[in-house]
């Protein structure tokens, strides 16, 4: 009937309002600022308004989430850091905005190149967060980090050098559990094949 559109609309907003508060009651105090409440409000069963109250609440990021890359190192004895990166340069070649530049180290006595980077810069102002570097690294040496609160006061500080890019394997395992497990089993399978065949 003509003129009833307004009641239709108001009824809908009233429904959303009551659903939000009814959900608040059902979840009594645990709807906000608790992981189960946040999980419920990101699922298909959420009712009413499900805004995540950032920055007091933060959504847990999925494993695939990508922001800025980082380089993985394994911790050896006496705190010696063994980088996985061999300075092959594939990540620099595949990077769409060309924001990575690498210098390979050379043996100081013979001058021959050794598979490790002496300099590794990423200009994070140019980084598109595409993840192609992590996807095509043959040594699983560069991975995508999840830190997105990266506001800074200067531009120069946004060019990350090798030191700033390093993270331990434990960090990589913590934020990418499934991928870490897959890499580990793939490396174990390859080692088993090599010892069997050789």
């Amino acid at each position: 009937m003509f003129g009833f559109g307004i009641f239709n609309g108001l009824g809908l907003t009233l429904k959303h309002l009551s659903e939000s508060y009814w959900d608040d009651l059902r979840w009594w105090g645990r709807r906000y600022f608790h992981p189960e409440g946040i999980g419920h409000r990101s699922s298909k069963d959420t009712r009413g308004i499900f805004t995540i109250q950032y920055p007091e609440e933060k959504l847990p990021m999925p494993e695939a989430f990508r922001v800025i890359p980082f380089l993985v190192y394994a911790e050896g004895e006496e705190g010696v850091r063994k980088l996985r990166c061999t300075a092959c340069g594939i990540c620099a070649k595949v990077c769409p905005p060309q924001c990575i530049w690498i210098t390979r180290s050379a043996d100081p006595s013979t001058g021959k190149p050794i598979p490790a980077p002496s300099e590794f810069f990423i200009d994070t102002d140019l980084c598109m967060n595409c993840g192609l570097c992590a996807e095509y690294c043959p040594f699983d040496a560069i991975k995508m980090d999840r830190e997105y609160e990266l506001a800074s006061r200067t531009r120069v500080g946004n060019i990350y050098n090798l030191e700033k890019l390093l993270r331990p394997e434990a960090y990589h395992a913590a934020i990418h559990p499934l991928a870490f497990e897959r890499e580990r089993s793939a490396r174990a399978a390859k080692n088993a094949r090599r010892t069997d065949g050789g």
Binding site: F2, G11, S43, P62, F65, C95, Q98, W101, L132
Partner: protein, 566 residues
């Protein structure tokens, strides 16, 4: 059809390896076009592309004609010398060619004789040169192709002087320079014939809507000639977001272009990836495995749902329902974006499709989440949107009969997507020239025949429902197996040739025309942007309407500036 037999003197087949179609002599072009339109039902001129073959000293302009009943393209090309290039314009025959020919003038410098409004479209009128020519270098030019040899190469095309400032090109100076563009624009606008409106002598007003405007869906400007509140004529002005994506595309390797395609229609990044990947897969002659095909369809249809929810929300916003329907629609979208984040790593810049398949597999728990949304939540929410919006009196008053576009006009103006189908032309690329697994799924082309803003709104609801139907079937039929045809490679070998890969994006037919000469980088990379070409019909839709209707019509065309300007 054998065009070479119909026009023996002026048309020859294109026999270069990897190419197809017909090469037409420039003077015969309007006759060939008229014959195709009137006798062979190739009434839909979808895409016009310019290509610079610098080593041969020629420009080539490529036309893709389609029949509204469906089927593959008829590709017609014409070649002209690079000095003082000029071609007869096809705008008198196909009005939809207007903006595309202006773009070719702007970016290549090819003049179109007989064009009603030969001005630059994407760049500002004082711009020096034509950027897509192979011998044009921008001021901060590094190298011709990526990967660059070093981050600070020695060469640059003279733009950067020793003190680090970017100087204007040789022979130009910003001092004393006066902008002519507005004068030319307003003169073109005001030449519309004055209608006698009774005994009162009124003056017409030229009004600019935008580029800073909350309802123009981005930085977009409309110069409108008004007689009181009625629109006499209007001209869309675009280019405020032009990044010369096509030149960047020529410098990137084929793989590195995929993240850049995300940024075209930035709300529907997976659809853009899809179109580009289809074009390059045609060139490479590879097919993705079955599982990858089904997953591509699922992601593309979820993207369509995401885009249409945004579009409906913002149409209502433009009509004045300040944000309530918009945010209700966007809330549902958030849950789908969370799925994109879990699958691809990013909500918006998904970068997920690769040549021959996908970047990664989709794990079962995420497929469960998609199933839950598709089976339970989204159908209910779309019905809710329908229930309180479709019969709303204000929506009906403002949208029914506004912005009419008939079926013949829609085809002549090369409209695509919901704009075309709401005018009664049931043309959907997924049925006209099926790609991926769309021909195996049971779904219908949404079509309405009113051609007004109201039907363009309703058709988007229909399309969301069809997309839900497609995703439900694809999830059910999803096979196991590989998601990439071969090992992941960052250097793809693309044989020389040309390919036009198109998908039915949410905004319309999104086509990618890629020319390769065997190098790691494309020779030419052109995006057939539906938002850009749908705007050609906007003047026709708004003539005689009120100013407030212009905003509603723009909201119903649903443009996005990343695609319009590229």
């Amino acid at each position: 059809m054998n065009l070479g037999e119909r026009f023996p003197q002026t048309v020859i087949p294109d026999q270069r390896p990897g190419y197809s179609g017909w090469i037409v002599a420039p003077e015969a072009l309007p006759d060939v076009a008229r014959m195709l339109r009137d006798e062979e039902n190739y009434r839909y001129l979808s895409s016009i592309t310019g290509v610079d073959y610098l080593p041969e000293g020629k420009f080539e302009v490529v036309y893709h004609f389609f029949q509204p009943s469906g089927g593959p393209a008829l590709v017609v090309k014409t070649r002209i010398a690079r000095d003082d290039p000029a071609l007869p314009s096809l705008t008198p025959v196909f009005p939809g060619a207007e903006f595309q020919e202006r773009e070719i003038w702007d970016l290549f410098g090819i003049r179109f004789i007989g064009h009603p409004d030969p001005r630059r479209i994407l760049l500002w009128e004082g711009f020096s040169g034509h950027p897509l020519r192979k011998d044009w270098r921008e001021p901060l030019y590094e190298e011709d192709a990526k990967p660059f040899a070093s981050r600070w190469p020695a060469g640059n095309a003279g733009g950067k002087s020793d003190d680090g400032y970017v100087r204007p090109p040789e022979g130009t100076s910003p001092d004393g320079w006066e902008s002519q563009d507005n004068r030319v624009l307003y003169a073109a606008l005001e030449s519309a014939p004055q209608a006698r409106s009774g005994a009162l002598q009124t003056e017409r007003l030229t009004l600019n809507l935008g580029p800073q405007h909350p309802s123009t869906h981005g930085v977009f400007r409309i110069a409108a000639l008004l007689d009181g509140e009625n629109v006499v004529d209007l001209k869309p002005v675009m280019g405020y977001l032009h990044r010369c994506h096509e030149k960047i595309g020529e410098r990137n390797t084929f793989l590195a272009n995929i993240p850049f395609t995300d940024r075209l229609d930035y709300l529907t990044s997976l659809s853009n990836n899809f179109g580009y990947v289809l074009a390059v897969e045609k060139l490479m002659g590879i097919q993705p495995p079955e599982r990858a095909n089904y997953l591509r369809v699922i992601l593309a249809e979820l993207t369509r749902i995401v885009s249409h929810l945004w579009s409906i929300g913002f149409l209502l916003n433009d009509l004045g329902a300040f944000f309530t329907p918009a945010l209700y629609a966007i809330e549902e979208r958030e849950l789908v974006l969370d799925i994109f984040e879990a699958v691809t790593g990013s909500r918006m810049m998904c970068n997920f499709f690769r040549f021959g398949g996908l970047a990664r597999d989709v794990p079962d728990d995420i497929l469960e989440r998609i199933r839950g949304l598709i089976e339970e939540r989204l159908p209910r929410k779309v019905d809710e949107l329908d229930s309180y919006l479709t019969e709303n009196e204000i929506l009906k008053e403002r949208c029914i009969g506004v912005g009419m576009l008939s079926a013949e006009q829609a085809v002549a103006y090369s409209a695509a997507g919901p704009v075309l189908r709401a005018s009664g032309v049931p043309y959907d690329v997924r049925k006209a020239e099926p790609y991926s697994v769309y021909d195996r799924l049971d779904w219908e082309v949404a079509c309405r025949d009113g051609g007004d803003v109201y039907d363009r709104y309703r058709i988007r609801l229909d399309e969301i429902r069809q997309s839900i139907r497609i995703v439900r079937q694809a999830l059910h039929d999803l096979p196991g197996g590989e998601i990439l045809a071969s090992k992941p490679q960052y250097q793809v070998r693309v044989p020389p040739g040309e390919a036009y890969g198109r998908v039915e994006g949410p905004k319309g037919e999104l086509g990618f025309y890629v020319v390769s000469n065997g190098a790691p980088n494309p020779w030419r990379y052109h995006v057939r942007a539906p938002s850009f070409i749908n705007l050609t019909s906007m003047a026709e839709m708004c003539r005689g309407q009120k100013v407030a209707d212009v905003v509603a019509v723009l909201g119903s065309i649903d443009i996005i500036l990343g695609e319009t300007d590229r």
